[in-house]
Assembly symmetry: C2
């Protein structure tokens, strides 16, 4: 039995998130279909996180225990042939049997991409948020710094979440502009349901004036979803990095 | 009554081409919906060409005769608010009453975009053709030059076309590479049904060795669809320029 760590990338547009669901196409499902076809058995896969419907991943990690003996390099090629064009396997390595893509995850980086221009670009459809109103990115970057540190993020968690412990640590976050593209980035040890999208919605509320400047500390302190801004749409959000301790990966 | 020339751009992925159809979403339909909402009447629109299902347009021209008095600049803004994010209006100008977006069209440029790399990019989904096999772009560029000039393009027309006159003039065509992206471009006075896609399929056949080198003149001379290569998928194809005589546009 080998335990394999696969890194994949996918365009989330047509998927109902990562996790297998009844009656909806998910990334896990098409990945398992490809694995079954290549590896000869339908092995259980562990994803590093659940991603919402429509969210993209430049990097997503999956661990799978399998009897399959195909060398990792060949597996990458064979899976890419079987996978649909919106899901790609980037790498594969063997890891210790104890490794689990989710439980061993030490942190993640998300980016939220905003096309900030008067004229929308139709070729960005469902891959960025179109936001035609001016954004003072330097100001919003300063506001976003208030998210850094260990906080109770209850105000930034979708009301339907059943998670008990709402404390998470944000290592770094901020915004930068490259031409018409504005990127919000955030790295942390864990993220609550819709947390990044509510952070973005709150920053856009500050940009538009519906939420007062310098109010992120008070919104965090309120521990109440209704204190924060709207949930930004899923299609601007990308999981871009997944962090593990290298010692957990060495055989 | 004004006659307006609108230039638009669209991502073709979810559309069944430009022309209005029953039971299928088309670009013309969503454009007419937006126009009706903004301009107050559902005016007849004339497109510069039919595009197939899934084909994209960086530039597409539409003429419309309307009683609407909204200034062109404001119309562009208002239509973009109403249009879905995968269709954009780029410009609007008033043209002579005799102008017709299709009949006055003097030529068009198409580009066919190929992602030529061993590892597919999931974020290019349905916006380029993934082609993981090596392409000798300089050689294919020399082959493509045989399309230039006035020819009977019967071999490069889908069998189901009902057009009688198959003679078209190609002004220029060729291929170039930018990193992993290979572009086939062709400019001409008119294009038959699937003509560009069959040209690309034939060039890819030459690349793979299933079609002999230097055989494009013979394939043209055969005047038989079965002499040419396969029809390349719609999703790599972009209409990028539409040419008019400036004298036809001046009021």
């Amino acid at each position: 039995m080998r335990n394999l760590l696969l890194t994949i990338a996918y365009l989330g547009t047509r998927f109902h998130g990562f996790q297998v669901q009844n009656n909806a196409v998910t990334v896990a499902q098409v990945l398992q279909d490809a694995m079954e076809s290549v590896m000869g058995s339908r092995d259980d896969i562990k994803g590093c996180s659940r991603t919402d419907s429509g969210v993209h991943a430049e990097m997503f990690c999956v661990s799978v225990k399998t009897e399959c003996r195909i060398p990792c390099e060949n597996l990458v090629k064979a899976l890419n042939v079987k996978l649909p064009p919106d899901v790609a396997v980037k790498s594969c390595r063997e890891v210790p049997e104890s490794f689990h893509a989710r439980y061993n995850c030490r942190g993640k980086r998300y980016e939220y991409r905003i096309h900030n221009a008067l004229n929308k670009d139709p070729f960005h459809y469902k891959a960025v948020l179109e936001h035609p109103y001016p954004l003072d990115v330097e100001k919003l970057d300063r506001e976003a710094k208030d998210f850094i540190g260990e906080h109770d993020f209850s105000s930034f968690c979708a009301a339907k979440s059943s998670v008990q412990d709402m404390v998470r640590e944000v290592y770094d976050c901020g915004l930068y502009r490259q031409g018409e593209l504005v990127t919000f980035y955030v790295e942390g040890n864990g993220f609550l349901y819709n947390m990044v999208r509510i952070m973005v919605g709150t920053l856009l509320g500050i940009a538009s004036g519906t939420i007062p400047e310098s109010s992120i500390p008070a919104i965090l302190a309120a521990k109440n979803r209704s204190a924060a801004g709207a949930t930004a749409p899923a299609w601007g959000l990308y999981l871009t990095k997944v962090f593990y301790n290298e010692t957990d990966l060495i055989l």
